[in-house]
Point group: C2
């Protein structure tokens, strides 16, 4: 018997009221922040919000969907892959970097990502949100188009460069990297990303 | 007239007693943490420790020397350059990565660096310790051997990759990157660093 079913009327399981969606989001944020991605379950988020797990699924879909909504990610990492990888591996480094810079150069879309990166650098449980949340979703897309035996290494090498770029350009504001136009960064860095994606080193 | 000179006897300027060195270090740590690198002066550290600035110079040398001592950096960034760059630019990417992995793979030497990276990612003033402290020292060495017009961009591109590697391998512990032997990382990543150091893209 679930906690929500046992809870007294008025404090327990509720129909979807006007702020139920907000309460679920708030419970989800609290759980992701304190327990990380792997430690968060739809069932526990529902219990903390005093609703049935089915209602969480109804409002938000899967745990990945809930994660994206709760962290207010400015994009769905699973929807980026067609733009970047749909045209094949040729030029994927440049397309990936262009999308990355578009998202990060806009202060509105940068904000939640910078918060996630700052928190993730401090260690667990926030590191789990970056690693098991957003990076896992992106790497899963990569595994669809790369040799499965190589996809994780290649994806993490790409991640290492992009995490470092975010840190250097946006959090540490190293000059001239911080003020360089996106086109310059693409010239400087895209070939390195392309090597990680399709280079002959594995 | 300096604050130390005006301070009353017993609370102000002191000779170098047994714990004077420790008090200067403690004042320096406090100042670097709260005011960043640029915001810290030898004079203010001396005043906070109740000693004459000359004593700080006597014990620690320059502000850079004091910074290295206060943060307990496991190496002097200014002494790495001969190993990495002394042999010329050929192979410098591999030598740099090998030194980097040697320092970071040892938990004892990793600890102060990981603390600095964690703090730096949270924003100012700690970001200043990474940017204006350690990275500036390393980049100054690079400027000695590279075209001065290119040294900053090349150095920051290298820094972006190494910061991202530290984040991915040691703080986020992305697998397989976190458990990969150093030799594998050199195979995977050194050519990318070498391109940043000497590639024809500027």
């Amino acid at each position: 018997m679930s906690r929500a079913t046992r809870a007294p009327a008025g404090r327990g399981r509720r129909p979807g009221g006007p702020d139920t969606r907000g309460e679920i989001l708030s419970s989800a944020r609290e759980s992701f922040a304190s327990k990380g991605f792997e430690g968060t379950t739809i069932r526990a988020v529902a219990a903390a919000a005093g609703v049935d797990p089915a209602l969480v699924h109804h409002y938000f879909g899967t745990k990945d969907d809930l994660f994206i909504a709760a962290l207010e990610l400015p994009f769905d990492p699973r929807e980026l892959a067609p733009d970047i990888l749909g045209g094949g591996l040729d030029g994927a480094g440049e397309r990936l970097l262009t999308v990355f810079l578009t998202v990060w150069d806009d202060p509105d879309t940068r904000l939640p990502l910078a918060a996630l990166l700052r928190a993730g650098a401090t260690g667990e449980p926030a590191a789990s949100l970056l690693r098991d949340g957003i990076l896992r979703m992106v790497l899963a897309e990569l595994a669809e188009v790369l040799d499965p035996a190589e996809a994780k290494v290649r994806g993490e090498l790409v991640a290492s460069q992009l995490l470092g770029l975010a840190l250097a350009r946006y959090l540490l504001a190293l000059e001239p990297l911080a003020s360089a136009p996106a086109e310059d960064l693409v010239t400087w860095m895209a070939p390195n990303l392309q090597r990680y994606i399709s280079g002959d080193f594995l």
